[in-house]
């Protein structure tokens, strides 16, 4: 056994095999999250892929790296463990708590897989590739509906894969990566990313999700602000142009559904009329905060709001849901992930942290519109942001990081 291990450690072929395995299963798993994870029985594909990713990551680090951890690794698992307190005393939703525990495990697998790949460009490129593949899949499935312009305004696409608002969330990530490439790419023909950016935006709007629209606007403006923050006139001009384009786009006939939903939301905020969807969501969030404050320290446990409120669903707001289910302590531990990414980013070099900013700002904004803490893609994005904002090179962890050289040709 020792001989085998020693041979494997020395073998470059074995090293490549495990590393390529990490690449393949990382990409495949990311593709499977939006494509299969909410479609029984295909959801088992996701489980198999994440298990295989875990095995390859473990083998690679065991043979060629290290499992050193720091507080960044501990926070999400600590959050999951703390959730057990409220779950035991109030919600008793142990099955859902197990989901949290598995998400914590996935978070660790993601962080270690980034360590294996040890190349931010590659990580982002693979993420972009997998979400682009999903977008194509979506496009193929809804080909007829997308080109049926007469009826497109009346339907919300995406339920084949997941809740339509959830599908909108996948397009937000794809859109923001594409925007990041468009704005920060050093490639000569970086402008080419305009095409996927528009493609993701259009596919996202077909879901009719207001959260999608508002989140991409926030994410886009964050990226534009960061990119042109030193050129104030240009920043102002681009912002005006973007606002005008978004406003014009909303008046296209096939976006009338989304426009109406958005306007009714604003009308409600101004107190003009009653949009039941917005009213209910607002009341649910207030209700969630109420239940949370009444269980101040540890909350009502995993899925506590769903179990206790009588409502039978979630609060439709991440802040309210966190306070309700995990109390102030769970809330602080979870959002410390955001704080750590921001704190690390001040010392980190390169432009990847700007993408992380856009994602984090978008998620903070999204927190008032939807619940995302138990979403697999959110866990991935949080771990990605933590990784992209690291104030030191991941190679610090690795005994031998020479594998990185193989992938230096990927310059985006």
């Amino acid at each position: 056994m020792r001989l085998l291990l020693s041979n494997l450690k020395k073998s470059q072929k074995a090293k490549k095999f495990f590393l390529y395995g990490v690449f393949v299963f990382f990409t495949a798993y990311l593709f499977s999250i939006p494509s299969f994870s909410n479609r029984y029985p295909l959801n088992s594909i996701s489980y198999i892929l994440v298990a295989l990713l875990g095995v390859f990551v473990f083998c690679y680090l065991f043979l060629y790296g290290s499992f050193r951890i720091d507080y960044r690794f501990v926070l999400f698992p600590a959050f999951a463990l703390l959730a057990l307190i409220g779950t035991v005393f109030y919600s008793h939703q142990f099955r859902n708590w197990i989901t949290l525990l598995l998400l914590a495990l996935t978070y660790i697998v993601f962080l270690y897989s980034f360590r294996c790949m040890n190349n931010n460009k590659l990580v982002l490129a693979l993420t972009f590739a997998s979400l682009s593949l999903f977008s194509l899949y979506f496009f193929v499935i809804y080909f007829k509906e997308i080109f049926d312009f007469a009826n497109l305004a009346n339907v919300r696409l995406g339920s084949y894969f997941d809740n339509v608002n959830g599908v909108g969330g996948y397009f937000v990530t794809a859109f923001l990566i594409s925007c990041y490439y468009l704005l920060f790419s050093k490639l000569k023909y970086g402008i080419i990313f305009f095409v996927p950016t528009i493609f993701f935006a259009l596919l996202g709007t077909t879901t009719g999700s207001r959260t999608f629209l508002l989140t991409i606007i926030v994410g886009l403006f964050s990226l534009v602000f960061i990119r042109y923050r030193k050129k104030k006139i240009l920043l102002f001009s681009i912002s005006i142009l973007l606002f005008a384009s978004i406003a014009l786009l909303l008046f296209l006939p096939f976006l009338s559904n989304l426009r109406d939903r958005l306007f009714s939301f604003f009308a409600y905020i101004e107190g003009e009329n009653i949009d039941y969807s917005t009213l209910t969501r607002t009341l649910w969030q207030k209700y969630g905060i109420y239940l949370g404050v009444r269980h101040l320290l540890f909350g009502t446990g995993a899925y506590g709001f769903m179990a206790l409120s009588g409502v039978g669903t979630y609060t439709h707001g991440n802040f309210a849901e966190m306070i309700c289910n995990f109390g102030v302590i769970g809330f602080l531990v979870y959002y410390s992930l955001f704080a750590i990414a921001f704190k690390d980013s001040f010392k980190s070099k390169g432009s990847f942290k700007y993408f992380a900013y856009a994602i984090l700002v978008a998620y903070l904004f999204k927190g008032i519109l939807t619940v995302y803490y138990y979403d697999k893609l959110t866990v991935f994005e949080l771990s990605l942001c933590i990784h992209l904002c690291l104030p030191f090179l991941e190679s610090k962890y690795n005994a031998d990081a020479s594998g990185v050289i193989l992938y230096r040709h990927i310059y985006v």
Binding site: T280, I289, Y290, V293, S309, G310
Partner: protein, 395 residues
Amino acid sequence: MIKQLLQKVKSLNPVAQRILAASTIILSFALLFPAGSFSASANVEFAAEYFSDLSQNHTIDGQYSYLLIEAASENGPSLHPPYNEYYYWNNVFGKTKDVFFGVVNGNKENECYFSDFGNKETLTFVYANVFSNKEYGEHWKHEFYDFELMFEGEDTSGIYYSFCYLTQSQANLIIDKETPTIEEYQNLIGNPVSITMDGVEYQWAIANIILETTNAVEVCNSLFGNFVLGYTKYPQDFNKQHCYIFNKYAYQNYYKLNYIISQFNPSEYVFYLGTNNYDGEFEMGSQNIDDMIFGKGISSTPLMAVLLSAAFVFLILSFYFCYIFNNLEKVKDLLITLVAIFIPYVIFKGLYLLFGNILLFSYQSLLFYLIFFVIFLVFFLVSKIWNKKRGVVKE
């Protein structure tokens, strides 16, 4: 004079300094509890607890109490259609959906009974304005209320005043048999039944029979006793009302009340406590239900503002004392500060558990408490930076 006072404070011995800093913290956080209890939200919470207590301890079934809402005048805004309301609650409270009924004579204020049979017990109408029942196994289901029906049902009013659905027990009384056959029930459909409403006799056509199988029938029986499901036409004095049903869970009642507040302006609608299912011992007293729900009872914004300002002044004072006494650097002092912050929480929680009055430990107070705690945390971080600049060494 203030300078002299500050000099005196600065020259206090360490124990007195700690006591002074801790007292201002305790006072600041303690004042938040009375401040919160004067908020409108505390009023709603109090009302929610009131309904919870009412449902459990003062009703015949010990399960439900109810609130009736009707338009204040004929020219005012009308109520939402019961259809919309029912579907709102069905979507929101999916698992416990018997939250809402559209009713007429919900508090039995109008004299109204079957003219020809029964014990003249006053009737309540559960009213419905649309008509599209769904097939449900061998029976039918009412299009939105959770009533199981014998037949599909149709508008049988014809020459009669309006039409109604009778419960199976009422149908049995008319047929005068304990277990009639389906044909005998079927023969009732389209026939008139006389209902005396405030002394005037009206002929209602029987359109369907409600099977007494679902929870909704149990809830209606428990709340209203004798009831029928009636179509939308009623004599002038019989007002349509929204009936919201409350249960023992105060937090669920809190949600329902918040919804009611968001939907109904107290100047345009009249609110009544449902009284039909009270047990004999309960008396309503002088409670005004509008005031209780809409925050005119105990809530007082000026008083809340005064208390909150006082709490804030004490918080600033505590910051000042902590800063000049370097009270956030040593672990021991930090612990004393933390304990001081939590003492009011423990005291008021204890008082709440002892007396059971929600106003002692209201949601709004806890929210204020949380905000002040965050402010204190921010101050702590800022003071760390300041102390670093001042060269204060941590022990």
